[in-house]
Symmetry: C2
Subunit: 180 residues, 2 copies
DNA sequence: GGGCGCATGTAATGAGTTACATGATTGA
DNA sequence: TCAATCATGTAACTCATTACATGCGCCC
């Protein structure tokens, strides 16, 4: 649903065709969304069918492929508002896949666990670097960047604390576990 | 995939039938997973088909319905290890639906935005309370609880900072936006 | 007699992804 | 001539969910 919100939100500012939308999303919002191109095209189609967007087919003037420009309708604006409010007010508990591996960490010898967690730490750090490098165009996208920055910093500090504790156990000679 | 890891991880400790598994998950792990009952049954079936679990049908002695007890196989243990390592080392960027509503926050009058965010804050706080109330049985589940606690605290502090900034703009009379 | 606990499922649906297809122009 | 840019899609698939179905025994 948040993907619909994204598309409607961008189209509310300016009419665009799918390619431009995907381009913008990939360049400026990659750090906070995972929408894929075919999904975007699919959703634009669907939103148009449902009456939230109107599409204007532009037959190509030159050698360029034809394209459809989307414009948000009155119902679309209302729908956008509904989605916006609902998304703002509601909170769905998050699940982290890594939690399951942490929960069963006793399955792995401590040194291997440490190596894998170190690898993970690098990836989280890389993601944080990417967020910090995000183009800083004004507007409330600034809050979103701050959101991800804080989230990732917390993630790093938690990871570090887990690694510290494992390393401590390792030194105490309690690091022996049942491994296959 | 992390759902498979969860089921295999629990079965690695002790043979169980689906009902007990679901019961345990709901009581002790609700705060960190969103697996639904039919999904669990479905996955147990599938994991058995794939040779990672063996199932023993126990025809009911008394009036109780018959049940299938699952036991992890050697391949299952290996598969579990693979999933465990892969899940530990890899990091998939998280997306927060709320980000999309924050990105387009200028669509809403400031006072309404504040009211909705306040509602959200309450829900996040409730979730944090629930995590803190989680049964504290030993093992590395402790790390998972810590993970969620820190995540939710960060979430609350970020929310607060967004609300503060909106309130500040409101006072400066910049709170006027284009609304329908 | 009505609801809860025990125990398992199925059928339909949804949301999104992957891999693939098309085809013209422009620049190295 | 080879890749990239522009521009749009489809078909098949995965993963998981929702809503529903079943049926006995126990307790109030």
């Amino acid at each position: 649903m948040y993907r619909r919100l994204l598309l409607l939100g961008l189209l509310r500012r300016e009419d665009m065709h799918g390619y431009r939308l995907n381009e913008f999303i990939e360049r400026d919002m990659a750090f906070c969304t995972d929408i894929k191109k075919p999904t975007a095209y699919y959703l634009l189609d669907k939103l148009a069918e449902e009456g939230y967007l109107s599409e204007v087919e532009e037959t190509s003037d030159e050698g360029r492929p034809p394209r459809k420009t989307y414009h948000i309708t009155a119902q679309g604006k209302q729908y956008f508002q509904e989605l916006l409010r609902e998304t703002l007010r509601s909170y769905d508990p998050v699940t982290f896949p890594v939690d399951m591996s942490i929960a069963f960490l006793d399955e792995l010898p401590g040194d291997e666990a440490l190596a894998l967690l170190e690898e993970r730490r690098h990836r989280v750090q890389a993601q944080l670097d990417e967020v910090r490098a995000a183009p800083e165009h004004g507007g409330s996208l600034r809050y979103v960047i701050e959101h991800h920055t804080q989230y990732l910093e917390t993630e790093l500090s938690w990871l570090q604390s887990v690694m510290d504790e494992i390393a401590a156990q390792q030194e105490n000679g309690k690091g022996q576990t049942n491994h296959e």
